[in-house]
Symmetry: C2
Subunit: 354 residues, 2 copies
């Protein structure tokens, strides 16, 4: 296989080749992190990446890659296998977070970046950023891991396994050999469960309470949508369906389960000992139950003992795992600090004691 990786860039690489920032994404986003002259549509991290934004593209050369195995331009199960001229589908080899990291490094290399200022990722992207630093310890001077972990916990594995089973048991999946949108209902269920794990009970209570939808919107079906919270999940799932390939979803979801930094050297300590970054920013969110904050604490503590200059921030965002996408008021100053924005307030950072 000779995979293709799609990426987008913002800003300009400096002469020294050391102002690059590489962003790895979570499971579902494309490489379009922010709008640009070439594509003015809003990116998935629009408020974080751009001129005079926390990751300031007037200062840094920012690169975001579409993950290997995804379906937004990079090679994955939904790509054509040149050997068979059919899609790869389940003939795509087992995908690991490390594979995604290696593919990202190929992009870095091809762009002439000598050493990255930082690699950045949230959720699966945080795992990938960590893997990148373990595999290429000299490639980046800093590491930013948001709402992520050094390995998947069994509860999170079980939740993702169940999402995959929803897709695989939809008759329209056809063992991966679907045409068109494929297992729409399985994807709908998986996305709804995803949304439940990405947000928090506290946020749902504040937003929806026990509100019912208006009578004219009700279907009359005894088990149809009645509460506002059900309507919210339906709307989000409907937006997702048709935009993401089901087989790609299976591969990327599984890659997260398989990730364990202890596979590098035999233990968590040895794996983290391979990280080459001089500085690290580890952020967790109190209401995240998919990647609970103790996992970020473990990662921060593990990195600190290797001599890395670690900043660990726990944010009180009520929006759960997805907070990095929606709670800019809490995330902006922390990211700003680390990337030394002009609006940086010195002395804000809390460092982990070694």
């Amino acid at each position: 296989m000779n995979p293709q990786i799609t990426y987008e860039t913002w800003g300009t690489l400096n002469r020294a080749g050391d102002n690059g920032v590489l962003i790895f994404t979570g499971l579902s986003p494309s490489a379009h992190a922010a709008s640009s002259p070439g594509d003015s549509s809003t990116g998935w991290w629009e408020q974080m990446v751009g001129p005079a934004k926390p990751i300031d593209t007037s200062k840094y050369f920012v690169v975001c890659v579409n993950s290997l195995g995804s379906c937004f331009g990079s090679t994955g199960p939904a790509s054509v296998n040149p050997v068979t001229s059919d899609l790869y589908r389940l003939d795509f080899p087992v995908l690991t977070v490390e594979d995604i990291a290696r593919a990202g490094q190929e992009v870095v290399h091809s762009l002439g970046i000598r050493q990255l200022y930082s690699v950045v990722g949230a959720s699966m992207g945080g795992m990938t950023a960590l893997a990148h630093n373990v595999l290429f310890p000299q490639a980046s001077r800093a590491l930013v891991c948001i709402s992520s972990a050094s390995r998947a916990l069994p509860f999170s594995i079980a939740l993702r396994s169940l999402q995959r089973e929803m897709i695989r048991t939809d008759p329209a999946w056809k063992d991966g050999h679907y045409d068109g949108h494929g297992p729409v209902q399985g994807m709908r269920l998986a996305r709804k469960l995803g949304m439940l794990t990405y947000r928090s009970a506290a946020e749902f209570e504040t937003r929806f309470g026990r509100e019912r939808i208006a009578e004219q919107r009700q279907s009359g079906d005894a088990f149809g949508i009645d509460f506002e919270v059900e309507s919210y999940l339906e709307a989000h799932a409907s937006k997702f369906i048709g935009t993401f390939d089901a087989n790609c979803y299976l591969y990327l979801s599984r890659a997260m389960d398989l990730f364990d930094v202890a596979d590098h050297g035999g233990s968590l300590e040895k794996g983290l000992g391979r990280v080459g970054a001089e500085r690290a920013l580890i952020i967790g969110v109190e209401t995240d139950f998919l990647f609970p904050v103790k996992q970020q604490q473990e990662l921060a503590d593990g990195l600190a003992v290797t001599g890395c200059d670690v900043t660990f921030e726990t944010l009180a965002s009520p929006m759960g795992h997805d907070s990095f996408l929606v709670d800019m008021d809490r995330f902006r100053p922390v990211i700003c600090d680390f990337f030394e924005c002009p609006m940086n307030q010195p002395g804000r950072l809390r460092r982990v004691a070694t």
Copy 2:
């Protein structure tokens, strides 16, 4: 409709007719809470109900009802509609927790119980026990609500709504007109999600970690069972399938979403103001995220202001919502105290200040 309610009893009603204890169940159990001379099989609350057990059947006349709408002898969607001679299926009327409570009170009445010593329930059974006390304030002198709530939260509603959607979108459901086991795959998914909401991430981490199943047990399927936690869920779901009717599951699940004690009088305060019990025991578990402990706190506080003598216990069980079924070491002494077991250690109870 002239519904039939199946129940089991243990012990003997005293002459005064005031030593009865009525147990309402969670969504899935039958009336068989404990073994008896008539049925020696282990009951679902075997360690809690029996001679010299916390709910001591040598002292109390214990009654457990199979919920109206369930499928273990009581009338529900899987029962024959005498008008059509077909099963009720979705012609069964909308079921509420209050309906289940009223059906339980019919049993109490028919058994000649003058006044109950206590009504007891956990999870959905706790909602039903509360509804029973609101509807029949003179029927019981005490109320025990375990891992329950005065109303369903939107996060819990969303989780149950998703379980129902898994069942309804299984083509084998056939809009409720299935034969035989019906939507086996939908029920499998729903039960797995149920198990995830009934236990806790902490317990899973201790029990399973990242252990893989033995190679000879692996299917070879790229997305098949690999981790022990996946195998555990599969085993539990397989046990459930074929034992519980899918339409009954839909009705009972929905009844929990619909329950809101505020429907009785217009507010939580007014609803709880109707409770007639002199004493109440409210138990919550720290790791329960389906019925989080703040809901039991709200219930305990709300009852205390009505003048009810409330005991509120928060237990540190790691097993989540299901702790009342499995963590006997923590539950036994609390239940014992309230039911004045011989092994009672006086002074243990903590009462809520009014």
